[in-house]
Symmetry: C2
Subunit: 395 residues, 2 copies
């Protein structure tokens, strides 16, 4: 009677959300400080103070009917120009505002791009482990998600498996560097190798393969430099969100940037506009469009995440855990001492440590620890990890 | 290569937008005050002053990481409760927060609801003239839009035509009262007749037919009282937006309310949650969720629209034009003196009057005048309408 797919999606309880809800309940029972909830990827550092200052200034100076009024579908022209200028200046890349489409965050950007590019029977490749909604967005278009496991030693792409997976049906590949859930970043060598493979396959099948780069963690890199992907591969579409860089996750503001080197870039952009209309996106929230114009390039104080990473990674390694060294994002991917990661999470729960099994992300045998929490929580959790490690005889 | 449907939608120039762009160009040539642009339905009155006051207060008092952070998918619990309480108090109707889903405006609410309810081969009935995006949203789900012309004397539903159009494939009927583009409001007698027909057809085909009430103009009624539709028909889903009532069109904030009397209301709601996920809606913008909690029930000074309506309607009738008396919204639907409304719009353009032909709304032979403009513009435009009427020998 209803759409069975939507109903089943709506009834599916999210593993992450369930753990978070359990944490809330448990905190009521034994106190906030005695539960170590590492489940959610919700930024813990506040936005830079300029965000609220600029919001107040905008409210005080721009006529309210303009500030809160419709913008055109792809966003206000001055905001799109500011984004294009930022890309030009930061990456020395010829971005133009007519290929910038402001969105209600990266989820909207991905859903819109996938609807713009794909049709039924197309295939879209995602590299596991991956953000679970990728699969939902792809399936909504009628295309088929094709899952390629990454190498489990460093969670870089397994190029042999990837090469096998690309067929004449492949319309796009989604990458996410820095990665949720592993924290892995792709270096320029990795991106070059990916670009070479995609170019070879494009030639082999005489068709375009789009590279969708989901980049909300772009600024959250700690010791390395990220390559700017359109420098390496022409048919690139960047999906960006200010959720993490400016700690504005709830405000839903981001953009799609179609590389001008993309084949028929203007048609791709038009198709994005059409998809935005079809999905009911009228424009990105106008106040936050104005905000972005003023504070693009600013970031929240991301140094907390680096501090947390160092404390947590070193702490766990010293206790005998195995983990992927995360160059970016705010996630630590820890090898489960049991084959079954869910069993490990249950065991960790006995020590009030709330971790997420990697199964939700399309890979088995790991747990995700979201370290976008207070540094105090990291420090206070280490004795609990210690007890857990001892029970499991890790050292 | 791309999605042909999305590309074609993206390349389609919007008639309304084209007229608006022409207006901007023309204003540069001959001055702002010499062009009478009635093309866009963009609220001209500012939000109530409380909106900016409350925004400032929220920014000053709520920790920024909470104010701008994720809420749950259907919205913050306290905001959903505030909406449910508002419905309870205003309409004496047993609304519950667990059937309220906050959305990025009414367009998102419609797209999400249609995706939740329909599958391919379903039919969704829309009553012409209609907001053009209805067709886009329906077609995106794979369902077929079925267009039923309204009666051209008062633009109430033609119940004979509607009865013929309802089949075993009919999943939903969309209504929009007060209506864009006609300004027509459905009285309780009309809604009762509609409910009776739908109930009869539900029994005949032994299936649920949902009534989707797109109600962004709910507060913009001038002399009459609107019926609360869930009082009349059980399987009702209300799609609401604060765009017009609070003049917040760019901020994208509204809600879906599933009547608790809807068959399997909880399943319908779950399906809405699934559809929201699939379309990339993570949550409605968080700052504006907090705002709505504080100022639900307030409205901008809507008296300007009534004043404009009276001036414009009486002015045009006195000049010999025929128009539908609008009980609500901010649109006047004027009969084209030519059979071809586009030709009439071209003629009006010679007098710097920018009107929208009704063809865009699925009905021929009328033009839409959006009177959400300054009262001054209405007054200053009347001499131009006078000259136009004289040339056309209307009196």
């Amino acid at each position: 009677m209803l759409s069975e797919r939507m109903l089943s999606l709506g009834l599916q309880s999210s593993v992450i959300r369930d753990i978070f809800e359990y944490g809330l309940k448990r905190k009521k029972e034994i106190g906030n400080n005695n539960v170590f909830d590492f489940s959610l990827g919700n930024p813990s550092v506040p936005p830079p103070k300029e965000v609220n200052q600029i919001l107040m200034h905008l409210i005080e100076t721009i006529p309210a009917e303009k500030l809160h009024g419709y913008t055109s579908g792809p966003g206000g022209q001055c905001v799109r120009s500011a984004v294009a200028d930022y890309i030009k200046n930061s990456f020395d890349f010829a971005a133009t505002s007519d290929l910038i489409y402001l969105t209600c965050g990266a989820a909207a950007g991905l859903a819109i791009s996938l609807n713009a590019l794909t049709t039924e029977q197309d295939e879209v490749i995602i590299l596991a482990p991956f953000f679970p909604e990728y699969r939902v967005f792809i399936e909504h278009t009628g295309a088929n998600p094709v899952i390629v496991q990454s190498k489990t030693d460093d969670f870089k792409p397994d190029f042999e498996l990837l090469a096998e997976a690309i067929t004449e049906k492949t319309k796009a590949v989604i990458i996410n560097s820095p990665n949720n859930p592993t924290g892995t970043c792709y270096t320029k060598e990795t991106i070059q190798e990916l670009a070479d493979l995609l170019n070879k396959k494009q030639a082999e099948f005489n068709q375009v393969i789009y590279l969708l780069s989901d980049g909300p963690y772009q600024e959250l890199v700690y010791d390395i430099e990220l390559p700017f992907i359109p420098d390496y591969y022409d048919n690139t579409i960047i999906i960006y969100s200010f959720s993490k860089s400016l700690s504005l996750a709830g405000e839903r503001i981001g953009y799609i940037f179609v590389s001008p080197k993309t084949k028929n870039a203007n048609k791709v952009f038009a198709s994005i506009c059409g998809a935005g209309r079809s999905l009911g996106y009228v424009c990105a929230p106008s106040l936050f469009q104005f905000l972005i114009k003023e504070c693009i390039g600013l970031t929240a104080d991301l140094s907390v995440y680096k501090k947390n990473r160092d404390l947590l990674y070193n702490g766990l390694i010293n206790l005998g855990f195995e983990a992927i060294y995360p160059d970016g994002a705010f996630y630590l991917f820890v090898k489960s001492p049991f084959k079954n990661a869910k069993k490990f999470c249950e065991k960790a729960k006995e020590y009030e440590l709330l971790l997420v099994p990697s199964d939700s992300f399309g890979t088995q045998g790991f747990v995700r620890i979201a370290y976008c929490v207070s540094t105090e929580q990291i420090i206070n959790s280490l004795p609990a990890f210690n007890k857990l490690a001892k029970e499991l005889n890790l050292l």
